[in-house]
Subunit: 274 residues, 6 copies
């Protein structure tokens, strides 16, 4: 019943088969391609849900490379990335981690939310991100040389960094860095209509509300509403939920628990939607 869509032991099958829906905003495609040609690692910076993951899928499709995505978190060890020995029958057998698998098959390896990674995980990528492009596997006593097709990319949200989780300069200065933000109005309207199935006018209204909500960042809102949530609201409307209620449960309540903020935003929605 469940499809195993990709096996890291057979990374070559992880190629994205259909062109992902992505509309470029600036020169990001050309810059990424130039970095790829020069074997430079790339970091994508930007807020939640503004299209970083979709962009990397789009580039992997056009560069015809398999894509290995790894969600970083503070319990992901260096060994989880690189691999480990497992007991098998009477001995132990080495199992490649996703980074090693990506390297061996010349894939694009995408470390999502890299600032969440632990220090040891961050340091692991250093030898892969200078001109040596090597990866020591200390547990096996070998050093791997990355093939030319291999590319390392990371993403992070600059708004999330804290003193504890700040990326060090010795890590930062290894990446070409591309900034992402919410798409401009026309483009975001197209995206919301395309992805949720609502008509152009409804999509435009949702984008307008989204912009108003994003302005609340100066009034205590932690982060603006993502394009993804605009699409959620569109989907609920198409399924018959009233527009105001759809906006409330998909665009307001997810982003804040503060009752006063919720009320202020709900009033704006009512004013626009009435």
């Amino acid at each position: 019943m469940t499809d195993i869509i990709c096996s890291q032991q057979r990374v070559e099958e992880c190629v994205i088969k259909e062109e992902p829906y992505y509309v470029p905003v600036g020169n990001e495609v050309e810059i990424f391609r130039a970095a790829y040609e020069n074997k430079l690692p790339v970091s994508l910076k930007g807020p939640t849900g503004c299209g970083k993951t979709r962009f990397i899928e789009y580039m992997a499709y056009h560069l015809a490379r398999p894509l290995i995505t790894i969600s970083c978190h503070e319990d992901l060890t260096a060994n989880d990335l690189i691999g480990r020995f497992l007991i098998k029958g009477e001995g132990t057998e080495w199992n490649d981690g996703p980074l090693t698998a990506a390297l061996k098959s010349g894939a694009i390896c995408y470390l999502d939310e890299f600032v969440e990674a632990r220090m040891d995980t961050r340091v692991v990528i250093h030898p892969l991100t200078d001109d040596r492009r090597i990866m020591p596997i200390e547990k096996m006593g070998i050093v791997l040389q990355a093939p030319p097709e291999f590319m390392l990319t990371i993403s992070y949200n600059p708004g999330y960094q804290s003193v504890l989780k700040d990326l060090k300069q010795s890590t930062r200065q290894r990446f070409v860095s591309i900034d992402f933000d919410y798409p401009p109005v026309e483009l975001e309207t197209d995206i919301v209509a395309h992805e949720s199935g609502v008509d152009e006018e409804t999509a435009r209204t949702l984008v307008d509300i989204g912009h108003r909500i994003r302005n609340f960042k100066q009034h205590g809102l932690e982060e603006g509403v993502s394009t993804r949530l605009l699409i959620y609201a569109g989907m609920l409307i198409r399924s018959g939920i009233g527009p105001r209620e759809a906006c409330s449960v998909a665009m307001v309540k997810p982003i804040t628990d503060d009752a006063d903020l919720q009320k202020s935003i709900d009033e704006i929605i009512s004013a626009i939607m009435e």
Copy 2:
């Protein structure tokens, strides 16, 4: 003597067989159903004991999906959710965790008190909650695609969030969010009478006392008394415990250790009950 009522290896048997007692307060049933149809994850927000768990059982019953509930806490690892290799005979054998089991069988997976979960556990659900709906199992080197029937839901109590445990926007903005609160007076009276077996009048008195206690939140009470505790008091009364004492041990002492607060509330109960 003990019934094994549900085996996660046979999740299909975890379907709820009788309709749970639940009376809708607003549009929550329609919103949940629309989210389910659009394959959107849902978060339930609200105080302790106000019916979130019962609601999810009610929806699982009406959507005819098995329900897998996982209580989150800070020692629940990502591997506890996903699965692990166990030594078996001469080799190792993979054992699905509850999240993997739920995904494979198209169940509704309910992560209760999600803000208690560790960061790694929270990040694990990210690829399941965007439009890819995938779950990488890094230890096996595979990526699973969720079937259309699978749904992910979480709950949390917004009053509990602290700086340390706050949900990040990158997690929050993946959910349609439904708010819960204590039911209105008439409805809560019905519930207390139905669940505890006391008569309508006694139930109404207990609900009145409950409302008075909830007002103490402005006077230092951490949280209001839950519907569940009103039912406890009703049960003790029906078993012959004096009403004042029943209220004291079921509705006052459980919610605070502060002697002054206890005394103030006990006086209110005496005034109403005499």
Copy 3:
């Protein structure tokens, strides 16, 4: 030479065979019995050594249920309570933890000093303490249904709670709560005489001194002297130790290391005992 008095694999043998010595102070017996009949969990609150453990033994005897006691501490894991796989011969074999064993045999499970338990341990009991009365065993992939005879009880000392260890409302509001305190003078005198073997008059003197010491709580004493220590003093007196010295080593030095406080209390003892 050592008796194995109870095996959790054979919990049914853990029934208490002789009636424990316990004299009720209020309605605690009736309330506990009503909670048991309604399958409600119970929490016992009160200071050190005031009879909570003895009360639970007394109730287990009269309800004719086996009693499983678990001392909570911050290194007791959820797995210690529930059970684990142990290597056995060529495979692994499941071993029930004490909570699972108690549940299967319909015992009263008593989690002593519950605020000392770690968060994961506290959350484990949540599904057992709502109306579902179930316990998921994630490592085995099964969910157990508690039989009607099973009862969960906890105890804690409200004076010990700190910000870090405070019980959450989502846990508190699952229990009927019974308060305990030191017994009234006459009753405590009987208990001291009965348990230590000293005559009524000596017991009364010890209780008087105990009351004086308990008043020092307003003068920097962390907690009053327990009934248990009064009994210790009585025992030492009966073994020939001088009464003042017996009080000093059994009732003063155990409760404080502060030399000034010790001296003040010793003076009171001298005044009463001379």
Copy 4:
């Protein structure tokens, strides 16, 4: 070449064969004996090196019980005390920890520097120190009953307690408590002469210096010099080291790194020794 002087698997051989040199200061021998007869646990409080360990050896000798000593520290787990399963051949075999071994053979178990123990270790002894005198071994699923000969004793230095390491009242109020301090002048002189082999006069001089140093506690010295260090100084003198230098390396430099304090104390020694 090395003697295995005691095996905990054969605790009965851990009986002390020669009477240890100990001169009682007050009623401590009688109180300890009365506690032993009434099966009460005992705590010994006092500064470093004032004879607590020697006293417990003396009592073990006179009560003719084996003595098991355990140095507590923050990495000593409850399992280290109780025991664990070890892999043996094709299965696992239970190995008693020192507390279990002591209990089974009716030994005196001495937990030295108990405030250094972790919380889980402290809680482990609770059921052993109330009138039940039982020890649950959760890993084996059994509960042991202590034989009448078994006695639990702890020691700690009240001067070391911090907020973090303070003994809780629920632990303190389980022990009869005996205070220790440096012995009076005459007695300490006898001890120093007896143990180091110097003549009475030299011993007396060392004790005098010791008293002077102990007075420095009001001038920034963390703790007074122990009887043990007086004996060290005596030994060095008997081996030909000059008295002033012997006092300096055995009585001054060990107790403080503060150059000013060292100098002040050295001056006192010079004044007395010249």
Copy 5:
């Protein structure tokens, strides 16, 4: 497809085959060589990306020694460096860690970013860095004597040290220490042109911009832009990316997330590049 370029079990193959591109700035080559001859360990201090790693490769090439590089981080244990027992068939087999492998084969061992190492890892090298030049392997119970060819080197960035991570004097005073900084203008221009393939004039412009950016350290910039990033910018320009955009994504955005700083620096670039 992937080359295993070096196996630590066959360290002798880790010799660098081609002369690395490195232009000496001062006497660093002579000092390093003198330290090597006297068997003294060397530490390299300097900012990110200024050529420390390249220098060590250059010296390893000219001294004709294999080079083992280890990236230090806070999860790298002493055992990761020294080695461990692995289960193999029916017993365990010792596997050398990279430090042991380097020592045995007389390699140059380079511990990169040594201040990131944990305390236990730092202490491990102490016996190797005094005149004994030994390494105890406690797990095997042996002590190895380093051959004369073996050399230990570390690097660190003095700007990164914090109170927590400061190198102790007992570690520092074991190394001859060579300072590194960004190369002088002419030299850096040559390097950028050589490594990126841009012409001399473009390289000079990039170096000029780099110097301007480095001056921002007095205005809140954490660290100056590295030579490596200048090379990145050159590579992107050569691949057809506009010079201003190339500088922005390769030299500005990687080093700071501060929007104001980014803008100030972008203005400087525009002024120079127009």
Copy 6:
């Protein structure tokens, strides 16, 4: 190629074969010998690189005892010192740790930088350092008696102690304590000349500079320059490095990263060396 110079399983071979170069400063040799004869443990206090390790080697040579040195750090567990069970074939086999090995063979055991050791490691030596001279091996259930030849020594740098790492009085008061400092001028000149091979005059100049640098401790320098670094500078000079540069890389840059301090010290060197 690599010599295994000492096996702890064959500690008797760890005897030092040639007399180490050590010139006594005061009575330290006699005091150490007297402590050894009286079976008293010894602590060596003093700054980095002033000869503590050399002294202990010198004493081990003259007492004709094997020497086992253990570098302490916060990840060295009690089990690392004592020993552990390793899986071997079908069962487990006990492996002595270095402390146990030293004890069994009557060696001198030297715990270097003892304040770096964890609490559990510190407590482990307590029973070895009172008059019982025993070591319980809890994992084996045995207690070992140290033979008369065994001696325990520790070293530490009093300047390094912090609140967290301070040695407790209960540990301190178990050792005869010998202070170390940099040698007087004449002696240090001899040492530098002897060890580095420079002539007397150059050695004297280096010692003079060393004294000047040590005076900077009152001006912000953490610790003075060690004799070891003076020797390093001499070695570099003998290898042809210019004296000022040799002093800079061997005596200035290793001890501080502060640019102002470096400059001040370099000026002093220039003044002396010109």
